[in-house]
Amino acid sequence: MNREGAETYLRLLAEAMMRGSLASAQGPGGGRARVTAVGLALTAVGAVDIETAEDILADFDLAVNVRQLHGLASRGAAGTMPSGTMPPGTAVPGTVPPGIALPGTVPPGPAPPGIAPPGIGPSGIGPSGTVSAAAMARWTARIKSGRSPGPLTRVSRLAGSGPAGSSGSPEQDPDPAPTGPGTAGPGTAGPGTAGPGTADPGAAGPGTAGPGAAGPGTAGPGTAGRGAAGRGTADRFVPVGLCVPFHDEGLSGEMYLISFAQTGSGARFIVACGNRTLLPQYRMGLQYPDPVPLEHFTVTDDRGTRYDLALTPGSGPEWINEISVRPAPPAEVRWLDVAAPRGPAVRVDLDHKVTAAGGEPEVTEARLSPGEHLLIMLADRMLTVAPEAGPGWRRQLPVMSAGLMRAMTAGLGDVVAALEAADVLSPLSPVPARLAALCASLGIGGHGITAAPAHDLPERWLSLLAHYQRRKPDLAQVRDGYAAVAAALPELDGIRLALVGLDNTEGGSSLHVLATGLTTEGHSGPLGIDLDFPLSLWLRDSGGRWHAARAAGWHRVGGERALRLKLVPPLPRSTAWIEVLVGGRSAEVRTRLPLRWGYPT
């Protein structure tokens, strides 16, 4: 890696932007977006450290702003501005004049880094809509402090602002879910107390329970190679797909057990809940019941040991819930009976020796350069940004291409050149040409990539492009449902992912994963890609169509992060299995998993 070449490129680009804007009518600062994009790209691949890039951007901003003041002062001398004043709102588009803007004011113009236009914000980590708000707050604080905002800023990182709007940050981590094998309290209920319920071994859908529900052909890979937090017990991830009906004091409903996950951070069920209220005070909104009366549930293992259930902090209403099981069951436990008040117990088979129908995950060596991997993540981002414009986005695509996406991809050519200058992207790499072809397919011009568009786009890109370009209107909203799926993937670039659930809700699809090895720096890369989730994750459904996944929210559970990955486009209801493709720098992992859909009321 040529760090000196990378820094030199960034500085020379800033000079060129300064020179060009000084000579043009647009005024200084017009090139800030390009400088920022390149700065983000070079820091993303580690070619320029964040502090250096921040300093270069800060110097660029100050240089631009004092010159703009000069220009305005000249006009002021002609009578348009009182001499010696520092007018608010005189900011260069996309920049904040240090000490010039009034505290709390937001300069007009294109969004600064970290405050991307709607739909292209820092990659969606955190609930939708909170990203911009949090970034805006950071920016306002920077204005007050007199420093221009920056996506690379040390201040924001020191402030502990993780992915904006995320439900997790080091300060917020309540560090729940203590674990400890074999510490179960005295149990009173034995295995015999839980009947097989309405078991229908092997059948998909809610209402099925009992031993064998996760039998051969329905269970995913259930084990991970690494021990649970060094305790010598293996992690286990078990698809469940069982429905536990409950009725308790005016509240009745169902808790759908999607999967069971046990790691060093504890054991938990991944669940979806549906309930209906019976009491008038609930119906009239005078009182709100707990979603699920967990304290009245009983959980008993095959040895008669009892366990408590508790809602995992951090998993909120927008989440599939995580219900922690305390203490964590010892490795020898083969099944758990889960019984709701006044309901039959359902048996959850924890035998993790079952194998998936799709077999073990397939690992293929990739050997991507850091630059290639970054460009692939940029491509993923471009392919997933369109639906974020809201309903009807497909009709708006041409307009978006002309405006939003063009602004988003301005500077891509500079990014490619900078990565080459940093020796993290070979001039012979085919990826820039594919990126150029992708831009062309999306109708995006002005990206600045000099390579001729390639003809060999990856199948998954073509699949998504075909989806965008399909003329028939969007399919009817898919029915809400939850798929029991669980699989631990091999470690990839130091990151371990375990798939623990899939849902279709409110017209969208989300894949839920547990991750270890992710950083929580909270900074985004160019185009708002999430550098804390540096993987390319795609799903192929049983109909052969590809779906891109991008991180849309997370919370911390012990040493892990529970991630919700939004799928673009949503999965069709008929999906019987998925093939998951996770791409890192060093390798690609593929695994094929059957889905068992449940539709709790």
Binding site: E4, M18, S145, G146
Partner: protein, 314 residues
């Protein structure tokens, strides 16, 4: 190869002065022979002691301190002027307004956002961690604010001081040890490119974006070569970092349609330089003479502007 004498870098720079609002009046600050001086404050060190004991620090002294803090600051090269046509006009009122704006609390005084979102009481460890982060953030912001205010004050001194500070910074990094070279070279290359590209355009009409600069190290003045044609045309220039202080800051970059690459005999207003008539040729010695339209001095708001910079003629 042409030997380059090792004279002081500021040999071709005349003294310059500016007025700074200080106390109830305006005081003269002066740059001369590479030093920043305060003629109105005969004992600045004593004033600093008094300020440390609670007295008010004179603005002239503050500016002198700011100058001292930034004589090795590479950011000066990125922010300062690129040439005569790139004058940064900043008044002391502007500086005051910026300082007042940054005087407001840079950090929200309420509880941190994370604390508001926390579900349960934080542990002692978490509180200490948040407090430490908060302190670091405040320190960072204070440093940023001071750096910004410093820079605005130095720019308010006017073009003459700005180019002299650029020269001094470049000279401070002109001969870095080998293990430091990689750290400073990108900023120096960018700084020379920024100032040489418009000069090259004026010299031979080349597009400034086609000027490629590298840092010359070792004996000799460097090299200038023109390659390619059309869009592939490039002017490859290799000059030492000292060129910024010795040549460019003195306003000597272009003299009589020659590109000045080095100073052979420094002096004011007469000097001998090495200059190129065209790319690829050997430099020739030229005797040059400086003239100034309106030397800085007099009036209430004196600052050496770009038009006060000297014009050198053969």
């Amino acid at each position: 190869m042409t030997d380059i004498p090792n004279d002081p870098w500021f040999g071709c720079l005349a003294p310059c002065e500016a007025h700074v609002p200080c106390g109830q009046g305006r005081h003269v600050v002066r740059w001369e022979a590479g030093a920043f001086r305060l003629p109105s404050h005969p004992d600045p060190e004593g004033e600093l002691v008094l300020a440390a004991l609670g007295g008010e620090k004179a603005r002239c002294v503050e500016v002198a301190e700011a100058w001292g803090r930034h004589t090795g600051d590479l950011s000066v090269l990125a922010i300062g002027p690129r040439g005569r046509t790139d004058e940064i006009a900043l008044s002391w009122d502007d500086v005051d307004a910026a300082a007042q704006a940054s005087g407001r609390s840079p950090v929200p005084t309420g509880p941190p956002r994370a604390a508001l979102m926390r579900l349960a009481s934080p542990s002692m460890l978490t509180s200490a961690r948040v407090q430490a982060q908060r302190q670091r953030m405040e320190q960072e912001m204070a440093r940023t604010t001071q750096r910004r205010n410093d820079m605005l004050s130095l720019l308010a001194l006017g073009y003459g001081f700005q180019v002299r500070l650029i020269g001094q910074v470049a000279e401070a990094h002109a001969s870095p040890p080998d293990d430091q070279l990689a750290k400073v070279r990108p900023a120096l290359v960018a700084a020379i490119s920024a100032r040489l590209a418009p000069v090259a355009e004026e010299w031979i009409g080349i597009d400034p974006d086609q000027v490629v600069v590298s840092l010359h190290r070792g004996p000799g003045w460097g090299s200038v070569e023109l390659t390619g044609q059309g869009e592939q045309r490039r002017l490859l220039i290799s000059l030492p970092a000292g060129w910024l202080g010795r040549v460019w800051a003195a306003g000597l970059a272009l003299a009589g349609r020659h590109l000045v690459v080095a100073v052979q005999r420094a002096g004011w207003p007469d000097a001998r330089v090495l200059a190129l008539r065209a790319p690829g040729t050997e430099p020739v010695p030229l005797d040059v003479h400086a003239s100034q339209e309106s030397p800085a001095g007099g009036g209430l708001d004196v600052r050496p502007g770009a038009r006060d910079a000297p014009h050198w003629e053969i």
